[in-house]
Symmetry: C5
Subunit: 100 residues, 5 copies
């Protein structure tokens, strides 16, 4: 599982039929320290996350379980929208302001 | 899932019989920020992506579902050709010009 | 499997029903050498690890076995709380004081 | 799937019985740009690749399919010997001379 | 599969019952070039590797096959103790003296 921020969307017309009707989000994994991740994950979103929201992303069988079928050309999905993250003292997440 | 750019092709004569007839593309994952990824993914392409096109790539069972069999020596496949990517304000994808 | 330190928690209200009731921890993988990892893993915790504790984390089928079902939107779980780590002479783990 | 170069061999006497008789190659993944990868993959080779050859490597179920059984202590295998790689203009693979 | 060096041990009392009786090793993956990897893998060891030994490590179904059950909270295992590694001319493995 990873926790990341929704940073964009992808649109595709030519695609495997099992992708029909899925919202496809670009997600940037959160990182510890000062430097944000430069990785981009693409996740199907059955939950309805909006731009800038923080989400939990699952992979493989877990992702397909949430999407409702094991027989699809997908293996990554948003499984939750994160309300809050708390980190222990001395831990920083890149790009997030520390709370007072 | 990852989103990447088609940067080349691979040809092989000596191969497992289950690879017969598959187009094999080199795909460079898109990255956030200024620096393009130096990773190369090899993906079977049942959809027909051309050089320079942006594609969605799936792994494992998802890839084999799109290729039509779970009993093959492949676990990566192009599942869609991307028409458009939109990113939120302040987000940059390496090597792509930002839109005006 | 990886070994990591519990650095925080995640809360989510809008989520796949199969996530209901799971504790979700942020885990930072331990790294060799001087520099701590900047990666964040999210793991379901059926065991009860507290802040700052060192834990073993499993992925995929192994994680779901520990959580009691293969049909859930999760693929990462805490499978043990680590009592002690011993490293061979000359090996350092980032952020841990070497023992006298 | 990844594409890599055969850089060595591994020998082991004490091993799980399911590894008996397998050739085990060290493979360095190809990388884009100027800097070669420092990663080493170990792959079982049922095809017969020689030193310095470029190979396609598959993981997980795909690798075991090529090796002929799902009940073995292996999850990486050479599935093809690469004859030729072509890359689009402006793309460089580390350590390979560009063609004239 | 990866090849790595045993650099330590992990002990845990509070753990999933399926981990009972397993030796748990810390393994540092071998890397090409001058710089050793800072990654730590935790692997169950049914074979009996000692400190400093070089081992092959398998993941997922392959690891559980070697451990004798698919229904356990583990997905990484030592599958062989390496007797010898040979690398092609011009290839260096970090931290290993080149042979004369």
């Amino acid at each position: 599982m990873l926790v990341g921020r929704v940073v964009g969307n992808v649109w595709a017309t030519q695609k495997d039929p099992t992708l029909e009707g899925l919202r496809m989000l670009l997600v940037q994994p959160l990182a510890l320290g000062e430097r944000a991740s430069d990785e981009i994950i693409v996740a199907a979103d059955p939950i309805g996350a909006g731009p800038g929201e923080t989400v939990l992303v699952a992979f493989g069988r877990a992702a397909r379980t949430v999407l409702g079928t094991q027989d699809a050309g997908w293996q990554v999905a948003v499984v939750a929208i994160v309300d809050d993250i708390s980190v222990d003292e001395g831990v920083t997440i890149a790009g997030r302001e520390s709370e007072p």
